[in-house]
Amino acid sequence: MKTWIAFSSILMKDMRSYYLKPPNISWGLIFPIAWTLMFFLRSPVAVEVRDLLPGVMALSILFGTTSMLAVTITFERKSRSFERLLLAPISLNLLMLAKTSGAIMFGVVNAFVPVIFASFLSDLSGINWFMVLGSVILIAITSTFLGLFIAVSVSQVFEAQTFSNFFRFPMLFLCGLFIPLSDLPAFLRPVSYALPLTYGADILKTAINYNGIISVPLSFLMLLIFSVILFAYSTYNVNRKWIL
């Protein structure tokens, strides 16, 4: 069985049906601009665009991937078309990888939209682009797998959206982007270190502005661990809850 045919067809169908739709493309463009403006407006002093870049990139990925995947899978479950995929002779792991690949790619593309804008407004020389790319991919993977985790935990589309926010907003404020980790109350710091975005945002800070505080190899390792755990737990749940 040529499983890659099934894999690529699922990926292409999702790209066409969900990720390349005009509302999502406009979301990818408007979201980073809105975040950048928000940072400018709230800051009493002049803000350097480059300083904002790690935060805007990280949030673009997080918000672009988690709810997208959670909503699309929940929607397909509701319409029973996901059942068609479960009945196909491809392994559950490969199927879930095919379903998540589209969201991961969407997240990576979303992350570079603010970079394009920033290139017109700021000097981007000296950035470690390999490190940026590595962290963007891993943030996209962990955020997408978080979306998958949400999708297998709910049964309605509105629950997926609500549940996504339950994870995203604490991450937004505790990952070190708005408030430096060192300024957080002591009791909240362990929570910060338990969030994947903390490590992804820190790598971006190191790669773009050289001001990260966690060791880069450790951050990459933590993101890999989060990815494996979220994916394994989600597929375990699919097998347990959807194949009765």
Partner: protein
Amino acid sequence: MKIIEVENLKKTFNGFTAVDGVNFYINQGEIFGFLGPNGAGKTTTINMLTGMAKITEGKVKLMGEDYTRNAKKAQAMMGIVPDESNLYEELSGWENLVFCGALYGMEKYLREERATQLLQQFGLAEAASKSFKAYSKGMKRKLAIAAGIIHQPEILFLDEPTTGIDVAFARQIRNLIVDLHSKGTTIFLTTHYIEEAERLCERLAFIVQGKIVREGTVEEMMKETQGENIVNFTLGGDFTKIEEEFRSHFPDFNLRMGKNNDVSIHSPSTFTLFPFVQFFEERSLPVFEAKIVRPSLEEVFVKVTGIELQKMQSEQNQKGRKSQKGGGSRS
């Protein structure tokens, strides 16, 4: 050759036994019918055979190979058409078929060629580029069957293929099933329409409350009612008022209630109609019609399961209507 062998198959959900140790086999090239009322365990059995439900106990073999714990191994050889559509609303009919072909690893040129051929064969060529959501219920069902056979499976599972669709489409689908069968496709068909099973299936199993209560060829099943004499009376009033009196008056006869004041009398020996007509007339129940009924599979089903057919079919039709509205339950 046996294409599927099922041994002591059992499924429990939180202590409730949905399928209770069923045994059956399906020969290559035959249409095997699985009949039973709502909640009898038909869909659960299909789900276990196709890998959509885990098997609690028992064994399933496909072409002699055990796939009880690894249904993925067998899914490439199966075509599955569930009782409710599971195709993609946003894709066209043609795109749905091509996508389903890809799920089975078919090369692009091959799946496109086969999709075009199937749309032609199923009378959907003109609607090929229409979005699936614009299809009527009957067209959706036909496309679902086409999607089930795009990869030319060894066995096709059809779960209630004619439930909830109009008579003309149901007839077209039955003709398609006959056509597929004539081309050698093995078919596992669940239905609650006895006449459909009688017309299409070579072998049958009746399932009630998770247990197979009878299995065999249609001819074998019909033997059970051979020698039985049945007369159906259409009365001009409500029979239930005199039911008790009738039973005490004619203790050697079996009685079955039908719809619209119909009542049928069963006896192993021949009998004259006059005493019955007289009995009804004396109790102000005029006899509008009395006809001899040839024993049918329906009689066997009612005899074996004790389930009145009208009740079963009206329940199933309600289920079909619910699923049309987007609800629907699983049996």
